[in-house]
Symmetry: none
Subunit: 238 residues, 2 copies
Amino acid sequence: MEKPLYRQVISDLEKRINHLKPNDRLPSERQLLIQYNVSRNTIRLALQDLEERGLIYRLHGKGTFVSSRYLDQPNIGEMYSFSEEVRRSGQKPTTLNQSLKLVEPNQKIAEQLNLQNAEKAYELVRLRLANDQPYIYSKTYLPEKLFPSLTLDELQGVPLYDVLKDKYKQLGVMAFEDVQAVNLDKQESEYLQEEVGSASLKIYRKTINEKNVPIEFTISVARGDKFIYRSKQYNHLL
Amino acid sequence: MEKPLYRQVISDLEKRINHLKPNDRLPSERQLLIQYNVSRNTIRLALQDLEERGLIYRLHGKGTFVSSRYLDQPNIGEMYSFSEEVRRSGQKPTTLNQSLKLVEPNQKIAEQLNLQNAEKAYELVRLRLANDQPYIYSKTYLPEKLFPSLTLDELQGVPLYDVLKDKYKQLGVMAFEDVQAVNLDKQESEYLQEEVGSASLKIYRKTINEKNVPIEFTISVARGDKFIYRSKQYNHLL
DNA sequence: GAGTGGTCTAGACCACGGT
DNA sequence: CCGTGGTCTAGACCACTCC
C-alpha cells in the first residue's frame, strides 16, 4: 500500500522548492515527467496541489515558479489556533471549558455533521480570553459516533485538536469558514463583556478529515473591537 | 474562442446544484460523462473545482454530494470575484465606479503599497450592487508608478484585475485579507442604505504580484446582513 | 460482485509568450 | 518558430462501500 505517485512527487518537489528562491523557475512539466518517469497528468496533479497551497504559481506560456511565501505574517491561511495566535502576540491565552453535554443536534447542525436520524453530538461551550479579557465565545459540536465517551476532564489544558487526533485518531485536514458581522445580543454581550449591539464577528467553521467526513462544527462569536480575522487568497481567479 | 469544456460543465452543474438540497447525491462520474459527452478527466476537473469551492464533497466508494450551507441567506463570498459570485447566485451584479483621483496616500496606505516619499497613488471609489441593492462600498489604492495615466474610462465594464493584467502587465498572485466587524458610521450607512450602527464587515486587502510587489490595496465595507466572507483553511502540519 | 471515487497512462491539440 | 502551461480523450486498474 504505497503512497500515490503524485503524492511522492509533491513531497519531493516541496523539498526542492525549499532550496530555491522566490520566483525561481521550476523545470517544465515535460521535463518533470521524464525526471519522475510518470505521465503528464500525474505531474499536473502534483503541481496543482502545490499551486493551491500557494507554494508555486504558473504562467501560461512562461513556466512554473516558486512563490514568495512566508514573507508576511506566517500563520495566515492555516488552520486557526487561538492559543498560538495569542501567545505569538505576547499575550496570555486562557480557555474556560464551560460545559460538555450530549445533545440532540438541531437540523442545521445535523446537516453540517452529516448526522442520520437520532445520532447525537457533544456540545462543548468555551470562553476564550487573552490576558484575562474575553475574546471569543464558542459552541463546538462533535459527532458522538466519532468521539464516544468524551469527557470534560480530558479536554482541560490540552488543545482540542490534540485530543481529537491523539485519542480518537481524527485529524482535521481542511476547514471551511464563513464569517459574518452581527450585532451582539444580550447573552453574547454578557459573556464577552461588551455592550449590546456592538459589532462582532460570527464565525462558522466545519472541519473535515482526510476522508471528507466532518469531525467538528463550531459557531463562534468574537469581539469586533479586538479580533481580526486574517486569511490569504491565491491566484486561481486573479 | 469557446469557453473550455470543463468550465461549461461547472456552470451547468452549479445550476443543477442550486435546485438540490444539502447532502443530496449527484450522478456518478460515469453517468455524468455520458450526460455531457466528455471524458472522465474533464468531469473530474469540473468536480474538483466545485469541491474546492465547497459546493460539493466526495466520498470514496459512496458518491458525490451537495455540501450543506452554513446560513440560510443566499451567500455571497470571496472578495476578489464579487461579480462572479453574485452571478453564480443568480443575481445581477453592478459596479458603480464613482471616482478616480490621484492622491497623496496617508501613512498607512503608503506603508501597505511600499510607497516612498512623495509617490502618489490612484484612489478608485466603487459601490457594488447585487440586484440593484448596495452590498459593498470600497476604496482601492493603486501605485501611480505601476499604473501611469490610469483613467476611469478604461475601467468601465471590465473587471479591475483584467485591466491591471492586460494593459499594465500586473498579475496578482496572492492577496492578504484582514476582516473586522464594525458598526456603520453615518457616511457608510448612506452609501449602503443601512442604519447607522448596524454590524458590517470591514475588509482590508493587499494584493501582490509574482515579485512580491504590492499592486493594490483595498478597504471595503460590506453590509453585514447580506455579505458573508468565506474562506478555506488547510492543515499544513501534514 | 457491482458501483463508486482515486490514481495513472500515453497520447493529442490549443493558447500564450518570447525569439 | 519553439517551448510553455491549458485542455481533452479513451482507455486501465486500484481502493472503498454496500449488499
